[in-house]
Symmetry: C2
Subunit: 356 residues, 2 copies
């Protein structure tokens, strides 16, 4: 196990926000909450998957709701702990390890206050290898691990337990709860054994986020283009560079849905690019052609390589769009059925990025 | 304790639907569900409040959602049992008595499948003395008894537990859950001791509903106007007789909200009456003047004295509107604050019916 201290949080937050493809919660807020908990309770131990005993009881933590709302309705900081304790009480056995349900600026850090305050290790892994907007969009669903039970907690100490035997229904009922709680809340679910976690979850993504976040700072220091550095790190490519000329947003119940239009600059002068998002960026359409699509990663960065969350996109911003391959698990037929274009209502075929 | 058998169900359903003031669920569906359970498990024992031991554990059962939806999305029949067992598991002790949360065509009967299948007595009492649309609108709220925990279950066996320390929040989160479940579900909550139930709940309302339902049949047999008989039974008055000329409905998330316009016939020829409802009838406005208002009862009947649920109002129907006094508990300042006109966004003053 290795120690994660306060100084590493900014690297994880940045890297995870890039991997979070516009969603996964605001990295700045996520960092503040984790930092506060670490100042109070000390650093956190991160365990690699091979260090988890077979009979460990592992649970995932993450935010649910609309990131657009969370940048105004700030978390109180105790939500994840409330959700964790509610789930633990419901299960009736001590949970021994926590992990992020997804990689995201806030979500990679969401388990840290629980880990710090309760003295539990956090697993260096997650259930998506990126961020997706819905509860069922996890590798757990592919392997039959249920979001059962699932707890949701808000900043007032309210909590809900959802008990259903289908991850799509878990999404539906947990989303309703999150909407009732004011459109953002923290959830805890996917209880699994250490053995299951080892076999199912995507390993090393906390460390990956940390390395990626650090890589951006190194690129700046070395006068390398940080966006190109991100693309190279992820095995992807720069798809577009432009400025935001319009953003359309709707708080579709429980999500931040919308589209952003970009006009090209520099190498992309004269071209246009449209980004469609539902918490995360789902599709990038350049001059009428789909150039990147879920489940591949569509990362929007500013010129300094800082990730721009979808909820922070605004008129006039200069941004760079990087596309990168997703975890291979999502490129299988069952993976694509769960998180591919058709899962979001799109009819285009998925064309994998980063492969020859 | 007295036995409630299948033959009494039609009386209870009718009387409770009248007392349910347009809401409380469809009496026909409620009766079918209860009848089915009794055919399978036998009759149910109804206990009067004085028969309940101090240390009994009592819980209320009722439907939550939009009655308009339930007449198309029929209950499976097991919802109340699922909600009951979920609450019992959450509390960790056996619940010994069930009672209807409110009086209503479906809601007065909702605890019976639980009572029949688990062999528990049902209390001859409820928490409203009529029906109201929201979770917090119970005498329990006035006495500090919380809807904590609260369980919600649907026809697919899905369940949710809400854990909040405020009955308004319980409403909000349980309503969200019910909407997620498809706008109708069954809930179980307000756990209290036998002593609390005796001191707080409104006694005798199952028997009252049964007597009222029977009174309608007697009036018909005796060639007495059944609507006048209902008004006399309730100490109220006939406010209007007319035909429905328009109905406006919206499924405001989780409720059946709307208005109905009536044109007068017979003694009310030339007059108009407007009924505003949110599951239950809230206000009757005759020729521009409020003639009855929550928390008093506004009961809509057909010429035979059969209650017409708000979700069954339709163009061309001949109906009679009866107004009647509510339970005195609701006429106190704190009662009016919880369920009076202002609780539904109205600015009119409450003028009690049936008092000189």
């Amino acid at each position: 196990m290795r120690e994660i201290g306060i100084s590493e949080l900014r690297h994880i937050a940045r890297g995870a926000a890039i991997l979070g493809t516009g969603g996964g919660g605001d990295p700045y807020i996520g960092r503040l909450v984790a930092e506060q908990a670490m100042r109070e309770y000390g650093p956190v131990l991160a365990a690699e998957l091979h260090e988890v005993p077979d009979d460990a009881l592992v649970a995932g933590i993450g935010m649910i709701g609309s990131p657009s709302v969370m940048i105004e309705k700030l978390p109180a900081g105790e939500e994840a702990v409330t959700a964790f304790l509610t789930l633990q009480r419901e299960i009736g056995r001590p949970i021994t390890h926590v992990l992020p349900i997804e990689v995201g600026g806030m979500n990679s850090l969401a388990p840290l206050p629980v880990a710090a305050s309760l003295g539990l290790p956090v697993l260096d892994a997650d259930c998506m290898g990126r961020a997706f907007p819905m509860v069922q969009m996890v590798v757990c669903t592919l392997e039959g691990v249920l979001a059962k039970p699932l707890s949701v907690a808000d900043e007032k100490g309210n909590s809900i337990v959802v008990d259903v035997s289908d991850n799509h229904w878990a999404e539906r009922l947990a989303r309703s709860a999150a909407v009732g709680m004011g459109c953002t809340a923290l959830m805890c679910s996917f209880p699994m054994s250490g053995k299951q976690a080892r076999e199912i979850t995507i390993p090393g993504t906390l460390t990956l986020a940390s390395r990626l976040g650090r890589r951006v700072e190194e690129a700046r220091r070395d006068h390398v283009d940080p966006c190109e550095a991100v693309a190279a790190f992820l095995g992807g490519e720069v798809l577009f560079a432009g400025k935001v000329v319009d953003v359309m947003r709707a708080s579709e119940p429980g999500f931040a849905k919308g589209e952003a239009w970009l006009e090209g600059v520099a190498a992309h002068d004269g071209a246009v690019c449209r980004l469609a998002f539902q918490n995360e960026h789902l599709v990038a359409i350049r001059d009428g052609e789909v150039v990147a699509s879920v489940p591949d990663l569509i990362c929007v960065l500013d010129a300094e390589g800082e990730p721009v969350p979808a909820e922070r996109l605004r008129y006039g911003q200069r941004v760079v769009v990087v596309g990168a391959p997703c975890h291979p698990r999502w490129r299988t037929p069952e993976g694509l059925a769960l998180v591919g274009p058709s899962a979001f209502g799109y009819s285009h075929e998925y064309a994998p990025l980063g492969t020859p």
